[in-house]
């Protein structure tokens, strides 16, 4: 039993699997983006090669930085996103671990990488890192609430706070999924903000503030952050797949697993597409956009779900 | 009469001492020699009365005993008036024209850095274009300066360049 848990956490579908899958997702994102931009794009081993290169480099910790927090934050970011992954149902209706209320835990665990980025950037004490950190936080307040609301709405309709139970509910009432399509769009937009992708890559806007929060990071610590971001991409996409696309979950392991990969890569491809067709917004424009359009639609989604729930109950 | 000749005539009418100092080299190119003492009034007149509203550049020249300064003034219709004035090398003082053209700032800093001219009334600011730790009294565009002097140049010790 114990050996089984260790296998699940460390190898499959835990640490090893998610790191490899994260890099694969990064590759798909980069390659697809390149194709859209009429380029050849990187070879399949590029994310891995980048990782090896970074690990081989010297870690430089700025003299003025708070070394403890500076070193801790990349690890925090990785652990938090992996932990969140274990609570998400992947190819079946049952997640590896689940309890009543794990939806809230997953959403909160997913905010930790953002916080880690903020703290890491802030305690680097570099001027670009600090601007990046402030922007990370400002942006966080703009996308987090729409994301909460968008994921909350299906949960309300399913009348459960457990991700596994939500997927069970929707796999029985597949047609109700269509109801949540606005929620899916909003969650996708919010995910762009969370992953700091164009048009919301404001905290790491290369041409303005070098690399934002990550400016002072190098070597292994940067490699950890890169892994954390890759994992966040997979976890975020998996969460969206579990909540908004929970079909075909009773096909058994092999078929179900393939379907799961297809779903996640579909969401990754959508993110790539979105990042190729927009320019980066300014931070004030991003906040405006989120509060003026995204949050109200998220509220609307919530109300619609509540009304439909009332109708079903009767 | 062409417009160029008209400009020449008006200048001579206003400033008698310019009578044999203005030449029209080709259409749209007028060259004028102006003594340093009369330069400010002539400049003021050309800019304000003759509508030379564009300062294309200021060229500094090393002319042996003197430093030469050419102000290339242009009109909207393409006529360029080159006002040439000289100042002795031991007292190379000219007045700034930044009050007419704020953009002249960069051109005048070049004269200061590269030829060792002294520009009266030039607003403070970063130097241009030489590095901050460039030694004093080294003016690269002067004819007696050559690249070999760069090697012999004393590097200011302990002075940190920002």
């Amino acid at each position: 039993m114990m050996a089984n848990v260790f296998f699940n956490v460390l190898i499959f579908p835990g640490f090893l699997f998610i790191v490899v899958f994260g890099m694969a997702a990064e590759y798909v994102d980069r390659k697809f983006c390149a194709k859209l931009q009429n380029r050849i794009g990187p070879p399949w081993y590029q994310p891995f090669a980048d990782l090896v290169k970074l690990v081989a480099k010297e870690d430089i910790i700025p003299e003025e930085a708070d070394a403890g927090i500076f070193k801790l934050m990349p690890v925090m970011a990785v652990t938090a996103s992996i932990t969140a992954f274990l609570y998400i149902p992947l190819w079946q209706t049952q997640a590896l671990f689940s309890f009543y209320g794990d939806l809230i835990v997953v959403i909160y665990l997913l905010t930790i990488p953002t916080l880690a980025l903020f703290l890491g950037g802030w305690y680097s004490r570099g001027v670009f890192s600090r601007i990046g950190a402030t922007r990370t936080m400002t942006q966080f307040f703009a996308y987090e609430i729409p994301l909460f609301l968008a994921i909350l709405a299906p949960a309300m309709l399913a009348d459960s706070w457990s991700l596994s139970e939500i997927t069970v509910f929707y796999s029985r009432h597949l047609w109700l999924l269509l109801l949540n399509s606005a929620g899916f769009a909003i969650a996708l937009v919010a995910l762009l903000g969370k992953l700091e992708r164009v048009p919301f890559d404001i905290p790491e806007a290369e041409t303005e503030i070098v690399a934002g929060t990550l400016t002072e990071y190098s070597g292994r610590l940067l490699a950890f952050f890169r892994i954390a971001i890759d994992i966040e991409l997979v976890v975020g996409s998996s969460l969206l797949a579990a909540v908004f696309l929970p079909f075909g979950l009773n096909l058994g392991f092999t078929l179900g697993f393939v379907l799961y990969l297809v779903k996640v890569l579909f969401i990754v491809a959508l993110i790539s597409l979105l990042r190729t067709i927009f320019a980066r917004l300014r931070i004030d424009q991003m906040i405006n956009f989120c509060w003026k359009y995204v949050a109200p639609v998220a509220f609307l989604q919530l109300i619609v779900d509540l009304v439909v729930k009332g109708i079903i109950k009767q | 009469m062409t417009e160029e000749d008209n400009i020449k005539l008006r200048l001579i009418q206003k400033f008698g001492f310019l009578s044999d100092k203005i030449t029209v080299k080709r259409p749209r190119r007028i060259f004028a020699e102006i003594p340093l003492a009369n330069f400010p009034e002539t400049f003021d007149y050309t800019v304000k009365q003759l509508n030379f509203s564009i300062l294309a550049a200021i060229t500094g020249l090393d002319e042996g005993a003197t430093l030469g300064f050419i102000y290339h003034l242009a009109r909207e219709n393409g006529i360029v008036l080159n006002l040439h004035t000289t100042a002795p090398k031991d007292k190379p003082v000219i007045k700034t024209v930044t009050e007419y053209f704020p953009a002249a700032d960069a051109y005048e800093r070049e004269l200061v850095d590269l030829l060792g001219a002294q520009v009266e009334g030039l607003p403070g600011g970063n130097r241009y274009p030489l590095p901050d730790d460039w030694p004093a009294n080294q003016f690269p565009l002067r004819k007696d300066w050559n690249v070999e002097m760069l090697d012999k140049m004393e590097h200011p010790e302990g002075k940190e360049a920002n």
Binding site: K35, L36, Q37, N38, R39, I40, L273, T276, I277, F278 | -
Partner: protein, 127 residues
């Protein structure tokens, strides 16, 4: 007229197009005919007039007399800016630009090319 995602259609069309980029070191590119690459020297045509040496903007070429009506050229490829002025200046067409452009070497000494009748036959310039 405002359309968010205006480039969407073109971007999606690109999926089915051949990429505009090439995998350069593996796929070689052909230079245009007038390309000014590495210099080629014909020692038998040279009369030692030194016009090329005089006109070279970066002092990349030196012509030495090594015998009766025999000359050798020392071309420093590290200095050469590929302007082709020496070819224009030469009255006897003893210099020629080639399409060769991959000239990187591990050290500067290897970029100095000596051409005379022994080291380079009239058809081949050796490095």
């Amino acid at each position: 007229m405002i359309k968010p995602g205006k480039m969407m259609i073109q971007v999606l069309q690109s999926l089915f197009k051949k990429p505009a980029t090439t995998l350069y070191p593996f796929v070689k590119t052909e230079m245009p005919d007038k390309f000014r690459g590495k210099l080629k020297y014909y020692p038998e045509r040279c009369i030692g007039c030194m016009l090329c040496v005089k006109d070279c903007p970066s002092d990349a070429i030196v012509i030495k007399k090594i015998g009766e009506k025999k000359f050798q050229a020392e071309i420093n490829l590290a200095r050469c800016i590929s302007c082709g002025q020496c070819v224009d200046s030469c009255p006897k067409d003893a210099l020629e630009t080639t399409k060769e452009f991959e000239l990187a070497k591990l050290n500067r000494e290897q970029l100095k090319v000596v051409c005379n009748e022994e080291t380079c036959s009239s058809s081949e310039t050796k490095t």
